[in-house]
């Protein structure tokens, strides 16, 4: 492995033949198998791989933070500036952690201590390695907070983590990691839990800070877009082994290993569908709209949640989750709702399922739905079914998967006895699972298989519409591609409609007929997929598209400065009248909000 380019080659970290093992009931299992790499000053090395590839175990091995005694480094060397970290005592290792090697983690929401102020947690990172008087600790804390370009840094020092947004918390994590000017920064999936515009801001920040400080970065990620955006060199791991390593352009353009090629092929790419009308699954044909009556028709859907308080627990404030949203879903089409967390996209889906109270007018298959009728709710759910994000949490662990898939049929009294068994067997085959799987429990299946079970359960009532709420977001890209294919096949076979709720622009582009962009509880742009993606009009749509990292190192963004700001709070006082987006038609079926344009920009 030789370093290319004009940078001075100064090796900071050398990892040789690292083997990390985890204890299992059936003996030690090797999770990192013979990993070797070098890291030079000022460079970014990406370790890419899917879940179970051993990439996070690698970072914890370097930090000496493996969950003992379950996991341990079995053999190998980790040399920081020539010193083998594996030979150091825990006491000596403490001087390395946070000082020479610092780390940022995936979950900014849980990685900060909820009961301590930001100033305290940040100050601690500074004073542990450089004992100094409190006033100087505070001054340094303020300095690093300014360095990570957080708004109102003085105020942040006395705030608690829950008072900060996810993006701000990740900035605090980065500030904490950089507080002692470490030689190496390990970032383990630093942007995975963040919205795409915040992700772009954090990636831009990391790149700027690296330029300023010369810190070497090990970036661990599953997202090939992030790899292309950030990496100088790349290591691709699969099941603990390195399958590919090289410069970022080599890995993306001349992948040698079949696994890497498969991984790259499975990555959804924004812009991959340019020039085509419909989604990949329907042979590029767009649906004939306008002629047919819509299957689902939503008018002025509004969802608000009350916040109570005071002596008599009266309503004091309201969360304006969804404000007067209108859209149609036609038979056999996929309508996607995209937007960032808190924009109201999931709430819209839940309101359609009658899972939460709502106001407005919803007509499904020619029948108007009464928001308060329980009897009707049952009929609604026969026509509309939902697949959720987390396939681990949405299956009852104590039931067999056969019972889970059969349950809707039993509740609705649609089948019993041998007919029920036949139906369940048919559903399992249809989603690509063996029929004998029915007798097993959810924990015996992988994430992708579980999502197939959830799909089978949703299909059991032969619904006309399936709401898929971030249904592939938790899955690895290769599995994600398979599940998306399955959804496409089911639609082509039986003319199902999907309401596909997602934050992932590339996935949405791949599978949608039409796309609605939501911002602050309202639809700001809706139209045929091609029109929205190739001719985005609303500033927020443009911002979302610009924020998506492209899995191509040659299309790397130089400038992130266009993407700034965070979504404002949807909590308002009782007399608040939302400014409604005024949708205006700019092309066939393509509507854009005019009034909200300035606010979003």
């Amino acid at each position: 492995m030789t370093e290319q380019g004009s940078k001075a080659v100064e090796k900071i970290l050398e990892v040789r033949d690292l083997v990390t093992q985890v204890a299992t009931p059936s003996g030690p299992k090797t999770v990192v198998d013979g990993l070797s790499f070098d890291l030079c000053r000022g460079e970014t090395l990406c370790i890419a791989g899917e879940s179970g590839s051993g990439k996070s175990m690698t970072s914890l091995s370097i930090m000496g933070l493996l969950p003992e005694p379950m996991a341990r480094v079995a053999s190998g060397e980790i040399r920081l500036n020539g010193t083998d970290l594996l030979t150091l005592s825990e006491r000596a290792m403490r001087d390395i952690r946070g000082n020479k090697i610092a780390m940022i983690f995936q979950e900014p929401m849980t990685s900060l201590n909820p009961v301590l102020t930001i100033g305290r947690q940040l100050g601690e990172a500074i004073s542990t390695h450089n004992p100094m008087p409190g006033s100087r600790v505070r001054a340094r804390a303020l300095e690093v907070l300014k360095q990570v370009r957080i708004s109102e840094p003085e105020k942040r020092l006395s705030q608690y983590p829950h008072e900060l947004s996810g993006g701000m918390r990740q900035r605090v994590m980065i500030a904490m990691a950089l507080a002692c000017n470490p030689d190496v920064l390990i970032a383990d999936e630093p942007t995975t839990a963040l919205d795409v515009t915040i992700q772009a801001q954090i990636l831009g920040l990391m790149r700027d800070l690296q330029r300023e400080t010369g810190t070497a970065i090990i970036l661990i990620t599953h997202d090939m877009g992030v790899v292309a955006e950030m990496a100088d060199r790349v290591i691709v791991m699969n099941q603990g082994k390195v399958v590919e390593s090289g410069t970022v352009t080599d890995v993306f353009e001349k992948p040698g290993d079949p696994y890497t090629r498969g991984l790259l092929a499975a990555v959804p790419r924004l812009g991959a569908m340019t020039g085509t009308e419909g989604p990949a699954s329907s042979d590029g044909k767009a649906l004939e709209r306008g002629l047919a009556k819509p299957l689902v028709s939503v008018r002025d859907l509004t969802v608000r949640f009350d916040i109570r308080g005071g002596l008599l627990q009266r309503v004091q404030k309201r969360v304006h989750a969804v404000e007067q949203v209108s859209f149609d879903i036609f038979a056999g089409e996929t309508l996607s709702i995209v937007g960032e967390s808190g924009c109201g996209k999931s709430t819209t889906g839940r309101a359609l399922m009658n899972l939460i109270p709502w106001q407005g007018e919803v007509v499904i298959d020619g029948r108007e739905i009464d928001a308060n009728s329980r009897i009707q709710t049952r009929e609604v759910r026969r026509n509309i079914q939902m697949i959720f994000q987390d396939p681990y949490a949405s299956l009852d662990p104590r039931m067999t998967v056969g019972e889970l898939v059969a349950e809707p049929l039993v509740i609705h009294g649609l089948a019993s006895g041998s007919e029920l068994d036949d139906r369940v067997e048919y559903l399992f085959r249809r989603v690509g699972l063996p029929a004998d799987a029915a007798k097993r429990h959810p924990h015996e299946f992988s994430g992708g298989q579980r999502q197939r079970i959830c799909i089978a359960r949703a299909l059991s009532l032969s619904p006309k519409v399936i709401i898929a709420d971030e249904s592939v977001s938790a899955l690895d890209v290769s599995v994600q591609a398979q599940v998306l294919d399955l959804l496409g096949e089911l639609q082509a076979e039986s003319g199902l409609s999907y309401l596909f709720i997602s934050h992932d622009m590339a996935v949405v582009e791949q599978i949608s007929h039409r796309v609605a962009v939501m911002y602050m509880g309202q639809i700001v742009e809706i139209g045929p997929r091609q029109a929205v993606f190739e001719n985005p009009q609303h500033p927020y749509t443009k911002k979302l598209m610009a924020a998506v990292p492209i899995p191509d190192p040659r299309k790397r963004r130089q400038d992130f400065s266009l993407i700034t700001g965070e979504v404002p709070s949807p909590v308002h006082g009782l007399d608040y009248q939302p400014e409604l987006a005024d949708l205006q038609q700019i092309a066939a079926h393509h509507f854009v909000a005019k009034s909200a344009m300035e606010t979003a920009a």
Partner: protein, 306 residues
């Protein structure tokens, strides 16, 4: 905050009202006759009827209750049937002793329970951890009168380290407090262990270690306050459990508190005292819970009282 406390106090009054109705009804339905108890075995039927008349025991239930409630609202707990003194005075005289014992018991159970639980979590799955958890289990399962009598025998009778019973000095306080705290310590150690194990798995503990902090700092600054949060709510509920324990422990150690008062009153169907002690206990439970809820926001800034 003030609105919250006011609302909780209104709730508290409703709870106390409910407790008073239920207790009064139970005592009314009791087959024992207070008038007969007061008059003694050899009294004539006429004397008993007279006493009944005097005390208003022949009135219908609701009238008796309303009369009691009316007096209660003016701060009058009534007069003891047998001791012929004001119940309010009796309780006031004995309450300090009980509060002292409760404070001692809470101190013991938190000291033993939290320490054992925290050590168990840090040294999990070691012989030390298993030993502590077995001890906790014994603490939870052993009846308090058995623990009390064993302690009394071992430390007072055999070893002579502490007085056998009574009230007055610090030495008198030790054995009753430990006996009472023993049960709670078992609960708290098991709760603390699982709470601490949960906290030690959290991302922010990993972050603290990644900063290079020492083990002690990670433990005391980052893990301990978080592990304490579920325990605080428990302490509030616990005060209610104390009230049942206090009757037993005060009797075993001859501790002159309201537990002993209640015990004597129950034996003699002295309704005003039983009612008074019950209401005071209910007050303690309600206030204990309120206190726990008021303390929680100081440890966890995420909790907002509304």
């Amino acid at each position: 905050m003030i609105a919250y406390i006011l609302r909780r106090l209104v709730q508290a009054i409703l709870i106390l009202l409910g407790v008073s109705i239920v207790t009064y009804a139970l005592l009314y339905m009791l087959p024992a006759d207070p008038a007969r108890q007061i008059a003694g075995r050899s009294a004539t039927a006429e004397t008993v009827a007279n006493i009944r008349e005097q005390l208003g025991l022949n009135l219908p239930f609701y009238e008796q209750y309303l009369r009691y409630l009316g007096n209660l609202l003016t701060g009058d707990f009534g007069r003891s049937y047998l001791q012929k003194t004001e119940v309010g005075e009796l309780i006031a005289a004995r309450l300090p002793a009980t509060l002292l014992l409760m404070a001692g018991a809470i101190f013991c159970e938190l000291l033993f329970g939290l320490t054992a639980g925290a050590i168990g979590a840090i040294k999990r799955n070691t012989p030390l951890d298993r030993g502590l958890m077995v001890a906790s289990f014994v603490g939870v399962s052993a009846p308090q009168f058995v623990v009390g009598i064993l302690m009394l025998y071992l430390f007072a009778v055999v070893l002579g380290w502490f007085p056998i019973g009574g009230y007055g000095t610090f030495a008198h306080l030790v054995l009753p407090s430990v006996s009472m705290g023993f049960l709670g310590a078992g609960w708290y150690s098991r709760m603390m262990r699982s709470s601490m194990l949960d906290v030690l798995r959290q991302d922010y503990v990993r972050t603290a270690r990644a900063k290079g902090l020492g083990r002690a700092r990670v433990f005391f600054v980052h893990a301990f306050p978080n592990a304490l949060l579920p325990i605080i709510a428990m302490i509030g509920i616990d005060i209610g459990m104390f009230m049942s324990g206090i009757v037993v422990v005060e009797s075993v150690f001859g501790w002159p508190g309201i537990g002993q008062l209640a015990w004597q009153a129950i034996q003699r169907v002295d309704i005003p005292i039983i009612m008074g002690v019950t209401l005071v206990s209910a007050c303690a439970i309600v206030l204990g819970n309120l206190l726990a809820d008021l303390v929680a926001p100081f440890i966890d800034p995420r909790i907002k009282l509304r």
